[in-house]
């Protein structure tokens, strides 16, 4: 046991002497590993960042909100069955709320109708197109966890009286009223005047598809009067306990069937959606991106590993006579094996440490320049990076080291 320890420390000493004696060669070989480690760890951070982005986006949908809609989230094959479903009317929300009120210990809190479309918002010559415009009730405020930069959402009285008021997303307000307050100003939404009563705080993008900061929320009555045809509504229902989402979903399905007057045995002619469905959709995509990304960057690490293998073969060849001498002095096979493996692993570890430092710098730099870019450097990454380096060294150093260990001492001693 002691002998193995002394052989180990001796091998580490030799490895460092060799690396220092062949600086240029070691640096070039380590460079291959550095590039590989940087590529793999950067991809790792990016994947993790995408993951975090997904989760943040899903959280925006609300973990405790169910969506009654005509179409399910996710692909359907028999689309014609869904297409023939009756329209989802905004009035259902009120009727569901009556059912909730009549249910003791209901798991549902409140249902709010939401209509959406894209509009342009104008102030004088300033114009923002494609604003995600939402028509809803004052209770919408209870669904979302948004903060306000200034003002508030319209209240029940304003909504009920059909007043033309609007709460703007952060970016919309910023574009129309750069550097000044928007509250009290009048904006033209698709040509209709609306008074700004509030501006949302910055929220961020949803999966990079659309921005919550690029929205305008206005009363349902006004929305229906000016913008809505016979479009389908989305009824958003907040649950009391997000841990009992499945039960809440059952209850909501029953409530909606009562509202719709569906007979027992009839298939639901609506869909109850939740963010988990999105997750189920996104997970395979996410994994696909991760696999492809890691495979491609893994190739660069593989090239680095070939470099290590090559240099270890050269090192064994150069030191054949030394191997013979060591064997004559009593080195066993495992001693020689260990010596060259440690040499290969040392170069890989140096490459790994330098690579991780570079990755750390790059991530910090990217984070400073693009604060919204979702990449995170974590300490598990350091651990994984070093483990990958060591594994690379062992895998690529093994063949040449094994060859050295099996050398015939007579042949090795005669080698010039």
């Amino acid at each position: 046991m002691n002998r193995l320890l002394y052989e180990f420390t001796e091998s580490v000493r030799i490895a460092w002497t060799q690396i220092r004696a062949n600086k240029m060669r070691s640096v070039l070989t380590a460079l291959g590993v550095i590039i590989g480690i940087v590529a793999v760890t950067l991809m790792g951070t990016a994947i993790r960042g995408i993951d975090t982005g997904f989760q943040n986006s899903l959280a925006m949908l609300g973990e405790d909100v169910l969506y009654i809609e005509k179409w399910p989230w996710g692909p359907v094959e028999d689309w014609w069955n869904y297409n023939n479903r009756p329209r989802i009317r905004p009035e259902y929300a009120e009727r569901i709320n009556r059912v909730i009120a009549g249910t003791p210990n209901s798991l549902l809190q409140i249902a709010v109708p939401v209509l959406t479309r894209g509009c342009s918002v104008k102030v004088g010559d300033a114009k923002v197109s494609g604003v995600f415009t939402i028509g809803t009730l004052a209770e919408y405020a209870r669904l979302i966890s948004a903060d306000y930069k200034e003002g508030r959402l319209f209240n029940e009285a304003e909504a009920g009286s059909g007043r033309q008021v609007v709460a703007l997303g952060h970016d919309v307000a910023e574009a129309l009223f750069p550097g000044r307050s928007a509250v009290g100003e009048t904006v033209m939404v698709n040509g209709q005047p609306f008074e700004v009563v509030g501006v949302f705080a910055k929220q961020g993008e949803f999966l990079g598809l659309f921005s919550f900061d690029n929205q305008a929320v206005l009363p349902l009555t006004a929305f229906q009067k000016y913008f809505a045809g016979r479009q389908d509504a989305s009824i958003r229902v907040k649950v009391t306990d997000k841990l009992r989402l499945a039960e809440a979903r059952e209850e909501l399905t029953g409530a909606m069937r009562r509202v719709r007057g569906q007979l027992p045995g009839e298939r639901d002619n609506f869909s109850v959606n939740e963010q988990a469905a999105f997750k189920a959709q996104l997970d395979p995509v996410k994994q696909g991106i991760a696999m492809a990304g890691l495979f491609i960057t893994g190739l660069s690490l593989f090239v680095g590993a070939i470099g290590i293998m090559n240099i270890t073969f050269v090192s064994v060849k150069e030191r054949t006579k030394e191997i013979g001498t060591r064997k004559a002095l009593g080195a066993r096979r495992r001693t020689i094996l260990l010596q060259f493996l440690i040499e290969a692993v040392s170069i890989c570890l140096i490459g790994g440490v330098v690579g991780l430092l570079l990755t750390y710098g790059l991530v910090a730099g990217v984070g400073a320049v693009f604060p919204s870019f979702p990449i995170v450097f974590s300490f598990s990454l350091v651990f994984v990076g070093l483990a990958v380096s060591v594994a690379t060294g062992i895998v690529s150093g093994f063949a040449p080291a094994w060859g050295a260990a099996r050398l015939d001492p007579v042949v090795a001693l005669r080698y010039e």
Binding site: R3, T17, Q18, T325, L329, A331, R334, V410
Partner: protein
């Protein structure tokens, strides 16, 4: 450089040989060189006892190198038997042979074979590393052995900072450090000028006087003359085996 105190003036003493260390019985060795088979050894029997000073001589191609490799447990015979200290070496595995070489045999090479980037002390410590000795014990033992060959003041020097004779002394210290049963020297003066070579032979003489068993493989009569017994090989067979005063 100060050579160790010389004993050349004193009349040559022959120590009484002790127990048998090496027992070789009808050993042959075949090499396949392409389609040809080379009979390097054709049936050699030889006994070496403790405290012997033996020279193995012969022209190139006589099988002298093969016999040396065999004696040094670097190689195993094709047929015949080889006992080292009563243990059958012919059937040992690579690692068992490595352990025998580590504990029982001290090698001295014509080209010194020192590790170029290690100090004299580190070179001498090497067999002790393989023997599993701790670093303090190693340093102490290696230091003493280096002092014994007259290099107590050169321990921190690397081989390229030493003269040829000093390098060979380091190599001899390395061979002796683990108290082997035999010291096996292959043309130990082959890369040295005659004066330095003579100093090395004086050192071997002293080591013999201290009780070491020495086998020198050489083709030079002048070197062989130092030994007390000369074994001559020709065409893979022992031609003569003569003890001399």
């Amino acid at each position: 450089m100060s050579p160790a105190p010389s004993t050349s003036a004193a009349p040559r003493a022959t120590r009484a040989p002790g127990a048998t260390v090496i027992e070789i019985d009808g050993v042959t060795k075949l090499y396949k060189m392409g389609a040809e088979t080379v009979h390097a050894l054709r049936g050699v029997s030889l006994n070496v006892r403790r405290n012997e000073y033996l020279a193995i001589m012969g022209p190139s191609g006589s099988g002298k190198s093969t016999l040396m490799n065999m004696l040094g447990c670097l190689d195993t015979p094709t047929s015949g038997r080889y006992f080292f200290g009563g243990k059958n070496v012919s059937t040992m595995t690579d690692d068992e042979l490595a352990d025998i070489r580590n504990r029982e045999i001290g090698f001295v090479f014509q080209t010194f074979n020192l590790l170029p980037r290690s100090t004299a002390l580190a070179n001498v410590e090497l067999p002790l590393v393989y023997a599993g000795l701790g670093s303090t014990a190693r340093r102490e033992k290696a230091g003493l052995t280096l002092a014994n060959v007259g290099l107590g003041d050169r321990m921190g020097h690397k081989p390229n900072e030493l003269s040829g004779g000093q390098r060979q002394r380091v190599a001899i210290a390395r061979a002796l450090v683990n108290n082997p049963s035999i010291l096996l020297a292959d043309e130990p003066t082959g890369n040295l000028d005659s004066r330095t070579g003579e100093e090395i032979m004086q050192l071997l003489e002293e080591l013999y006087a201290q009780g070491n068993t020495i086998i020198v493989v050489t083709h030079e009569e002048d070197i062989a003359r130092h030994a007390r017994r000369i074994v001559r090989l020709r065409d893979g067979l022992i031609e003569s085996d003569v003890s001399q005063a």
